[in-house]
């Protein structure tokens, strides 16, 4: 475990050197929040009106939190890196090291996400307060619980993206699978809470990764309930085990197919 913590720490240190680049990269985040602010402002004729149980402020806070989780992941970069590692044969340099490639990818990318999460979280909360002039009231324990769900959501999300990237062992380019995954998370989990979907679809969404990587933490932020918190944590632990197992399964099957030409 210590070696993975070392990988994590060195990645955090590396990313601290590029803090300005990271901050400039969050302009997109500001634009997205700005667009949704305008969109929900337009749709809610009265800010206190309830649509599917959410008032305007809650909707905007929901999008702010889900976008924080999504933007801090930088999933495209991770998926592309794994695809390139497999396609170019670079993965051979990782295979002969005294660590597992899946865990290495997880901790290495967690180092990237940590800095991004802190920056975009501060930015998101600041934007929310500036535009909405209010923030959901949470006590210290509730904030700790919310942050724990964010951490687990991030780990599960990274593992699922690693699993998608590892599909490159079987087909040359796994990036299109990532596009689809990202759009599903974005449209079904990030833009709207589950309650906005037809009743028939809601149980399916709640059983999907969308519930644990996006909806769960954001829902806790806008309306914290202890029973909901327990549900989210239990679902996240189950998904953590599943996603970890899937990564190892794909990796163990895929690495046998690896054929690297020297040069």
């Amino acid at each position: 475990m210590r070696k993975y913590l070392y990988i994590y720490k060195s990645e955090v240190m590396t990313n601290l050197q590029y803090i300005v680049d990271i901050l400039v990269g969050f302009i997109s985040y500001c634009i997205i929040i700005f667009i949704f602010l305008n969109l929900w402002n337009y749709i809610y004729s009265d800010p206190s009106e309830l649509i599917n149980g959410y008032n305007m402020n809650q909707m905007i806070w929901y999008v702010t939190i889900t976008e924080i989780l999504w933007m801090s992941i930088s999933g495209r970069k991770l998926c592309r890196k794994i695809c390139n590692d497999v396609r170019s044969g670079n993965i051979a340099y990782n295979i002969n090291k005294p660590y597992n490639y899946v865990e290495y990818s997880l901790f290495n990318h967690l180092g990237v996400v940590t800095i991004r999460f802190v920056c975009v979280f501060v930015l998101g909360i600041a934007m929310g307060i500036i535009f909405l002039r209010s923030i959901p009231s949470l006590n210290v324990l509730q904030i700790a619980g919310f942050l724990l769900t964010c951490l687990l959501a991030t780990v599960i999300n990274i593992l699922l993206i690693v699993a998608i990237g590892l599909i490159s062992f079987f087909i040359e380019d796994a990036n299109p699978f990532y596009w689809l995954y990202s759009k599903l998370i974005l449209v079904v989990g990030t833009i709207f809470p589950v309650e906005f979907f037809p009743g028939v679809i809601q149980p399916i969404i709640k059983a999907s990764p969308i519930y644990v990587v996006s909806y769960g933490p954001a829902r806790l932020f806008v309306n914290f309930e202890t029973s909901q918190f327990i549900n989210v944590i239990v679902a996240q632990i189950i998904y953590l085990i599943i996603s970890f197992s899937i990564c190892h399964f794909i990796y163990s099957k895929g690495v046998k197919r690896l054929n690297v030409n020297g040069g």
């Binding site: 990269g25 634009i31 969109l39 649509i51 040359e172 299109p176 596009w179 759009k183």
Partner: protein, 264 residues
């Protein structure tokens, strides 16, 4: 003069064709890229179905008009990225000095460079655009206008990418600025302009000219108006001319990095 232009266009198309043939070497990846891009775009229809279940009219557009807007946005960026992918990496090329290859060719440097690569997945965007037009209701008139505005919008998008990317001739590493401007265009393009107010509206007519790329063309496809049509064309010519002027002014400051590379 006309023969030179004709030759240049022919060379640009040949360049695109060879770049496409390179990408088609792996057929599975080629087809997967296109199909998944269509699926990727289709996901957003869910977002609008939900929003339109709450409100019938968003920003002045009904659901079908919104699909047309999506189609036009996908088509515009699809055409731009497919035929002129390198225009979006111009800043990087200036900084790394990889324009050398194009400087020694007896053809237009800018056109040769921007048509040197293609992004295959954008074929998916282009197909998706016409699927949206089909859902909206395809007629000969709407098909011609839609295709025209996709190409016209793509020209403005490419021109802006060249303008922002060319700032590297003066200011060095401006990739982030160029990328941000490009992502600004993409992010705003798929939302009706009616939901925005104030300064954003001014931006839509100036540095993020989406009014001329998407919004006025949508209104023209729905209800044609000659004056607006002429204005859109005039603005397109303005941005293209500005892109050429800025690029060639900047090119005078270009210096090679002595980077050895081979184009295959």
């Amino acid at each position: 003069m006309l023969t030179a232009v004709k030759n240049q266009i022919k060379v640009s198309f040949l360049s695109t064709r060879y770049a496409l043939e390179r990408e088609m070497l792996n057929k599975v990846t080629f087809i997967t890229n296109i199909i998944f891009m269509i699926l990727n775009n289709s996901c957003f229809i869910v977002q609008w179905i939900i929003l339109y279940s709450i409100k019938d009219n968003i920003g002045g557009l009904g659901f079908k008009e919104l699909l047309l807007l999506w189609g036009l946005a996908a088509g515009t960026f699809g055409f731009a990225r497919f035929f002129c992918e390198s225009a979006f990496n111009i800043s990087d090329a200036i900084n790394k000095g990889t324009l050398d290859n194009y400087l020694v060719q007896p053809k237009n440097v800018l056109l040769s460079y921007i048509t040197s690569t293609v992004q295959v997945s954008c074929l998916g965007d282009m197909l998706y655009a016409y699927i949206m037009l089909f859902i909206y209701g395809i007629t000969v008139k709407s098909f011609i206008l839609f295709t025209f505005f996709c190409i016209n919008g793509a020209l403005i998008v490419v021109a802006l990418a060249i303008i922002f990317g060319s700032l590297s001739f003066w200011f060095g590493r401006v990739e982030l600025v160029a990328d941000t401007m490009n992502s600004l265009m993409v992010n705003f393009a798929t939302y009706p302009d009616g939901i925005f107010k104030g300064i954003v509206k001014i931006l839509f007519y100036t540095i993020i000219p989406l009014e001329f790329v998407n919004y006025i063309p949508i209104r023209l496809i729905i209800d044609f108006n000659l004056n607006s049509f002429i204005i859109v064309i005039a603005v397109t010519i303005f941005f293209i001319s500005l892109a050429f002027i800025i690029f060639y002014q900047g090119l005078k400051r270009y210096s090679s990095s002595n980077l050895m590379n081979v184009r295959i």
